[in-house]
Structures are given as C-alpha cells and as structure tokens.
Symmetry: C2
Subunit: 285 residues, 2 copies
C-alpha cells in the first residue's frame, strides 16, 4: 500500500488529539503513514518565554518568513524536535501506535541550502540579512522512512533540515511534507491546518474551493492569501513530484484525516470522491 | 561485531567535538555504535532562561535528583530531545556519520514507571512530591536500534522514557545507557564525563582506580561520591545484564573513546588492556 503523508500545522486551533487519533487508526489498519508537523505556535511561545523577539523577514515581493538567527535557531530546534515532536510521539504511543520521532537532520531526511544572504524590507528600506538559518529544501532521503515503515513504525517528522555545512536549518513544514511525499512515492498528501481549505472569498468558509485540477494551479496560487499561498506551492511541488492528490483540509474538529480522505477540504490534482456535490468554484474565480 | 554503547555526560567540560570525532571514526570502520547523551547543563541553562528555578529532590537517604514538575518537563524535553540531541546528530552528519537522533519515547526504546510519590527532605522536614515526572527504568526495546544499526545508522539517544500512561519522563542517562547496552548485547559500555574515572582519594586525579572486578563493586560503590555513585550503579546494572566491560572515563581531551577502549579510565568487569602498568588501588582502599 502506498504511504500516506500527513502534514499537521503548528498554529493555534489545530486539534492535535484528533489528528493523532486518526493517524493511530490508520496505522492500526496497516496503512503506512508519515506525519510531518509544524511548530510555529510552540516556537513563538518558547521564544517569548526566553525573551527573544519573534521577528519576520519580508522579501521585496512580500513573502514573509521567520527570522532565524543562531539564537532563535536554538529555540526553534528545542520547540520543533523537542517539545512538539515528542508530544505527538508520546500521544501516538499512548494510542498503541509505534511512532518514531525524527527531524530532517536525522538520517539526512531533508537536505537544504542555507539562505546566506536574504534580501529583506524593513521600514521601507532594503537590507541584506546574513545570519538567517532558514533553508531552501534541496532533497529528501526516503530510505530511512521506507525502512521504518516496512517494519511497522510511524515516523513523525519535525521541520528541520541539514545544511551543506551540517547546519541545522529551519524549513517550511508544508514544503518539507511535499518533498517527502514525492520522495516516498506517496499517492496522497493531506495538509491540515486551522482553515477548511482554499477559500475563493476569504474568509467566507462557504466559499471553499472543492477541487483544483493541475491546470488550474496558477489560478489557485493567485487566489490564495498569506499562509495558503505556501500550501498551494507545496501542493504544486508534490503533484509535480508524482503525488496524485493533495488535500488541504481542516484540523479543528474530530477525524480530520478521515474527513479529508472522504472528500472534505480542497483537493488538488485528482478529483475528490463525490460525497457531497462539488460546487462550481468558477462562480468565485 | 557486537555494538558499542557510549554515554556522554551533559555537564560542562565535556568535549562534545572530541566524542563525535571518535564516534564517526568508529562508525566509518564499520563498528556499530549507539551514543546516549546527558542533558544537565543544557536543561539547567534553558530553565534559567525561561525563569524556572532548577530544584532538586533530596531523598531521606541523601540521593539527589532533578525535580521535574510538568513545566520543567517541557523544558527538559526541549533541551534533551531538541537542542542537545540535534546538535550531536548534526555534528556527526558533518563528519559523514549517518546519525539518527531518538529519545526513549520513540519506538518505545525506554519504558519507565513514573515515581508518583517521591519522599523528599526539605529544610529538615520530609514531604511527599506528587508531580514529579521522573521515571524508574523498567525495560528497553532494542529492536529499533538493531534495525538501525544493521542498516548503517548510528543512533543518538536522549534520556527520556515513555511512562505507563504515555507520559514523557526524565530518566538517568547513565542507567538508560546501561539498560540499552544490556538489551543490545553490547560487549562494552563507555561512560564519559568530566572526571577521569573513579577516584580512590577524590578529587586527587592520581588516585584513579584502574580496575574494579565484579566482586569489588560494593567497594567501588562505597568509595564513589556524588554523581559517580550513579555511574557505578549503572555499571553494576550493565554488568549484571551481560555487558563484559564498563569503562568510566574522561571526555575533556581529544580521542576520549579511543583512549578509554585502549585502557584509560576505570574499567569495571573485564580487566583493561595493560597499556600502562595498573597501580594497586588497594593502597587507597
């Protein structure tokens, strides 16, 4: 059975217990599952507690990312690979699921290039930031995941990558999940967060786009705002890498994974099962 | 080749780079190595930064342990499974070693029972502490480690264990290493820290005890002070579990593992190779 990759967002509102319950059920049914998690709320919280300002880098094109200087990196690693990862692993173990927590640094799961000079806009002026430990994902090494899955383990992965100088780098969780899904030959990637999916008339949740065929990805990317833009980009990368369906769905209620697989959320690529009639998203286009 | 288990202490003074260099060399020679690490200095440092007091529990018999209430546990997990673990893994990866960082929670590597009622002495009065997340080690699950070692990976393990209610628990790194060494059928356990070994006349480093045969373990335990008592106890557990030699040695200088294997430090169990003449520790007994 081809593995299923699930990305769970790190923002407030995501129901971690609902996701782990679904993951444990799927794993118990013999489905190979890889869970990739975000870490934003936990990293922000720990940074605040140690008195580190949470700063963002805004690119000249308006792209926003976390400014990860060496001190912030230590906190980010602590929150991602320590707190969030082990909380999820322990919760899964409590449900009888043989979870194994890893980060992209472990077994060279995720390789990235450090962005050594990041152009950023601050108070209307451009400057170059040179001490940012954010990575551009380059490759995923799926061998270790295949080995673990073949032996009944459920890998749980924190969004870190190994740089070319063996630095630990902060990477985007959605794109990391996309790269891993493609490397694993996964059929489906489920991206869960605290929104119902791509909304044609944000923030009206009734305007959910049910299906984005590959030829309409440009339209979807244009439509998306904020964090959703990155998810559409991740979906595009996963689809280009051979994944059949990417589902962007809601993790704020019970059984989020089961609902997504049954047709909830926004399906990109393959057509969703027609559990509900699919509204015509062209009305919003 | 039987695996070698190396425990590296988490206190100040330990030369992490020297240890990772030796581990990478051994792994490159095809030797299966498991590295278990401590986390004391990093956990204390992070606790201080978030403004959590570092508190200790003193048992009526004088045994000292870290008081790990739920808030301290979060910090301990962050430092152990996040910061220290991923720093070591990245350093090993930089040396070409296929390191994989885990904690005892992952794959049920280390199972423990939470001490739900800890008798402690405070200002001369006894009281019972009920919110301590420290574990009494019960079992190690070596299957995952065997799988990783058989495929050329070098596991790096943080001192956490999974409790019976799926809690994450703080456990002693030396004893965790002993339990893992026994479960793996390791021939040798090397316990490295910032002291040269067991000293007959602490702190005189010239009084190093070179060899403790199994029948003199009681004597060694009596002789040991402070943290060394726990190391002797760990050594006793490893030897009882079938490990042939436990070496307690210094990690403050280059090539600490190679020196230990060549006969440095205190050897418990099997006789050390007679590289240097072995002084008669009875002179100090």
């Amino acid at each position: 059975m081809p593995p299923l990759v699930i990305k769970i967002g790190g923002s407030h509102g995501v129901d971690m217990a609902a996701v782990t319950a679904d993951v444990a059920t799927l794993a118990a049914q013999g489905r190979p599952v890889v869970l990739v998690h975000g870490t934003s709320a936990a990293a922000d919280d720990l940074a605040r507690r140690v008195g580190l300002p949470v700063r963002q880098l805004v690119s000249p094109t308006g792209h926003v990312s976390r400014y990860t200087d060496p001190e912030t990196l230590e906190i980010y690693v602590a929150a991602a690979a320590g707190q969030v990862n082990k909380r999820l692993v322990a919760a899964l173990q409590g449900l009888g699921c043989q979870a194994v927590g890893l980060s992209g640094v472990d077994g060279r799961l995720l390789l990235a290039e450090r962005k050594t000079a990041v152009r950023t806009v601050e108070n209307g002026r451009q400057r170059i930031v040179r001490d940012d430990y954010t990575g551009r994902l380059v490759a995923a090494n799926a061998d270790l995941l295949r080995l673990l899955l073949a032996h009944g383990y459920t890998p749980v992965i924190a969004p870190l990558a190994l740089g070319q100088e063996a630095e630990r780098l902060n990477v985007d969780g959605d794109r990391a999940a996309a790269l891993l899904a493609a490397a694993l030959g996964a059929e489906t990637l489920v991206i869960l967060s605290n929104v119902p999916g791509l909304l044609a008339a944000f923030p009206d949740e009734r305007s959910l786009v049910r299906h984005v065929p590959v030829e309409r990805l440009d339209w979807a990317e244009e439509l998306a705002a904020g964090r959703m833009k990155r998810k559409i980009l991740a979906a595009r990368e996963a689809l280009a890498g051979g994944v059949s369906s990417v589902i962007i769905a809601d993790a704020r209620a019970p059984n989020p994974v089961q609902h997504a697989l049954a047709g909830a959320g926004t399906w990109l690529g393959a057509t969703p099962p027609a559990v509900h009639p699919i509204p015509d998203e062209a009305a919003y286009a």
